[in-house]
C-alpha cells in the first residue's frame, strides 16, 4: 500500500481533519521525506589522477593518486584517495593491506611538518628554521671533518677518509635522490656510509 493512501486512510479512520493538521505540525510528513533510495555519489569525480609507485616493498606496485587540486597547474594538491593502477603489469590494480592504506601514511598525524632541534641535555624538541638548522649542521660537520679527517695512513699513503661522521641513506628515496646523496657523502670522504641493504 502506498504511503500517501495509507495516511489518508488513517486520517479518515481517525475521523478528524483536526488530527490531520495537528499531526502535520508534529512533523508528520517526515515519513515521506526520506523515501528516495540512492547510492553514494562516486567520490573520485573531478579529482586529478597521478601515476606513482608504492613506496613500501620492492614489488613496486603501480598506484594512482587521486587529488583535489593539480600540482602541475601550480595548485596545492591534497591526496583524497589512493588505489592500485589496473594498467600496471605486476599488480594489475591490486594492492596489499599497506598499499591500500597509503593515503593514511600521507596524512598520518605523525607526519613531520617543520624542522625541530633538541639541545644537548634537553627533554624536548624545539622548532628551528631551515636556515638555522642547515647552517648549524654544516658547521658541525665541517668542524668534525677538519678535526678528524685522515689524510694519510701510517705508510704515508693518501687515504682521505672521514670516519667520525657516518650516514645511513634511505632506501625508499628515488634513484635520483640517492645519486645526489651518494655524491655528497662520497665527496666528503664519509666511509661509514650504508643503507637498508644490509638490514
Amino acid at each position: 500500500m502506498n504511503m500517501e493512501l495509507s495516511r489518508r486512510g488513517f486520517l479518515r479512520a481517525a475521523g478528524a481533519g483536526v488530527a490531520g493538521t495537528s499531526l502535520g505540525a508534529m512533523g508528520f510528513s517526515e515519513a515521506e521525506a526520506a523515501v528516495a533510495a540512492y547510492v553514494r555519489p562516486l567520490k573520485l569525480a573531478n579529482t586529478t589522477e597521478t601515476r606513482n609507485t608504492c613506496p613500501y616493498c620492492s614489488v613496486a606496485c603501480g598506484i594512482i593518486l587521486y587529488s583535489k587540486g593539480d600540482v602541475r597547474k601550480g595548485e596545492r594538491a591534497e591526496i583524497v584517495h589512493i588505489e592500485g593502477d589496473a594498467d600496471h603489469p605486476t599488480n594489475r590494480g591490486t594492492l596489499c593491506p599497506k598499499g591500500a592504506a597509503l593515503k593514511d601514511f600521507v596524512q598520518a598525524p605523525t607526519r613531520l611538518t617543520r624542522p625541530m632541534h633538541r639541545k644537548p641535555g634537553s627533554d624536548r624538541f624545539e622548532p628551528i628554521t631551515w636556515d638555522a638548522a642547515l647552517d648549524r649542521i654544516a658547521r658541525l660537520m665541517k668542524d668534525d671533518r677538519d678535526a678528524n679527517f685522515v689524510l694519510r695512513n701510517d705508510a704515508g699513503i693518501p687515504v682521505n677518509r672521514w670516519t667520525t661522521t657516518g650516514m645511513l641513506a634511505a632506501s625508499a628515496t628515488t634513484n635520483e635522490t640517492a645519486w645526489t646523496t651518494f655524491k655528497v657523502a662520497k665527496s666528503l670522504g664519509i666511509v661509514g656510509f650504508d643503507n637498508q641493504a644490509r638490514v
Binding site: M3, A37, K43, A45, N46, R92, C96, P97, A100, K103
Partner: protein
C-alpha cells in the same frame, strides 16, 4: 586462451558520471508493500571469494576502510590475527582465521574466510526491517542500506542469517558491506575485489563467477580436495557473495559459516503470521465491542438502584437482608 588475472578491468573514472543504480532498479524495498515494478532487469552480479587462494593479508579490509571512509578503532591483541575482533559499523568486512587440523590427513590447515554481507537473494534483513526504504535490493542483486531511512531498531540484525549488520552507537543506523554500490553504479568492481592481491576475491556477473568457480573447484579437486565446492546457499535463495571452499561439505569449520542458512522461522512467524492473526484479534475485539454497543442498551444505574442505595445509607447497613448466596 587462459583466464588472465582477474583484476580490475579498469581504473575508476574521475569525470562526473551519472549513477547507474536508482529508484527504477529496485526489486525489493523494506516495509513497502506496493513497490512499482523495476523499470529494467540488470544483470545479476556477484562477488566470488576463493578461500583456497586467500592469504589472509587483509587488503580487502584496508581497501574497504579507505573506500568507505570508515574509522575502525585501534584495539588490542587478544591472541588472534583477526583484527578488529568482529565486524563493526566501521569494519564492513573481516578476515576470520581458523587453525583446523584435518582429521583425515592430520595436517594443519589455516582456514581464512573473508566475512561480510552475503547479499542474499532473499534478504532476512530486508524482511525484518520496519522502516520503509531503509533496506533496498536492486535487480542486480545488491542489498543496500539507505542510512537516511534507517531508524536503528536493530531488526535487520535479527533478520540476518549471517550475523552481519551492525548498529552504530554514534548515529544509531545500521551498517554493512554495500558491495560498493557506488562503484558498481559506475561500472567498477568493489574496492576489496580490486585490491585483493591474489585475486581470491573476484567480481562480475553471477554467471561468470559460477563458471570461474567451476574452474577453481576442478583445480582443487585435482589437488586432493575431494569436497571442494561452491557456497551459494539455496536456503536464502542463493547469494551474490559466494565462496569457493576446499571443504564445502562442512562450511561451519570456516569460522562458523552456516551450513544451511535460512531466515529464522521465528522471524518468519513474527513478520508473517503474527501480523495477520494480530490484526484479526484486535479487529475482532474492536468489532465485538462495537456490535455489543449497538445491540445492547448501555448498563445504566436505575432509579430503583439509587433508592435502594440511599435507603441502605440511611439504615446504616441493617436493611435489607443479605442475598441468598451468602447464607448458603
Amino acid at each position: 586462451m587462459s583466464d588472465s588475472p582477474r583484476t580490475a578491468v579498469s581504473n575508476p573514472p574521475v569525470q562526473p558520471m551519472a549513477s547507474n543504480l536508482g529508484q527504477g532498479d529496485l526489486i525489493r524495498r523494506s516495509a513497502t508493500d506496493e513497490l512499482p515494478p523495476p523499470q529494467r532487469q540488470l544483470t545479476p552480479v556477484a562477488k566470488l571469494i576463493d578461500v583456497s587462494k586467500c592469504i589472509g593479508c587483509k587488503a580487502c579490509q584496508s581497501a574497504c576502510v579507505e573506500w568507505n571512509d570508515t574509522t575502525p578503532a585501534v584495539g588490542e591483541n587478544v591472541g588472534a590475527y583477526t583484527n578488529p575482533h568482529d565486524l563493526t559499523e566501521n569494519m564492513f568486512t573481516l578476515m576470520r582465521f581458523t587453525e583446523w587440523v584435518n582429521p583425515s590427513t592430520d595436517n594443519l590447515e589455516w582456514l581464512i574466510r573473508k566475512d561480510g554481507c552475503m547479499h542474499c537473494a532473499d534478504p532476512g534483513c530486508l524482511k525484518a526491517c520496519p522502516a520503509p526504504g531503509a533496506i533496498v535490493q536492486y535487480t542486480n542483486g545488491i542489498v543496500d542500506f539507505i542510512h537516511e531511512n534507517c531508524i536503528g531498531c536493530g531488526y535487520c540484525v535479527k533478520g540476518c542469517p549471517f550475523n552481519i549488520p551492525r548498529i552504530s552507537k554514534a548515529d544509531h543506523r545500521a551498517y554493512k558491506c554495500t558491495l560498493c554500490s557506488d562503484r558498481v553504479a559506475v561500472g567498477q568492481g568493489p574496492a576489496c575485489a580490486k585490491a585483493c592481491p591474489t585475486q581470491a576475491i573476484v567480481f562480475g556477473t553471477k554467471e561468470d563467477m559460477k563458471r570461474h568457480a567451476e574452474g577453481r573447484i576442478a583445480d582443487l579437486k585435482s589437488r586432493g580436495y575431494a569436497n571442494a565446492g561452491l557456497y551459494d546457499p539455496p536456503g536464502v535463495g542463493g547469494t551474490h557473495v559466494m565462496y569457493v571452499l576446499h571443504h564445502n561439505d562442512q562450511p561451519h569449520i570456516y569460522a562458523g559459516l552456516p551450513d544451511d542458512p535460512k531466515i529464522s522461522a521465528v522471524v518468519q512467524t513474527w513478520k508473517g503470521l503474527t501480523k495477520y492473526v494480530g490484526l484479526a484479534a484486535m479487529g475482532f475485539m474492536a468489532a465485538g465491542s462495537l456490535i455489543h454497543g449497538v445491540f445492547t442498551r448501555p448498563n445504566r444505574v436505575s432509579r430503583e438502584d439509587e433508592e435502594n442505595a440511599e435507603k441502605l445509607v440511611k439504615t446504616g447497613g441493617a436493611e435489607p437482608p443479605p442475598p441468598a448466596e451468602e447464607r448458603a
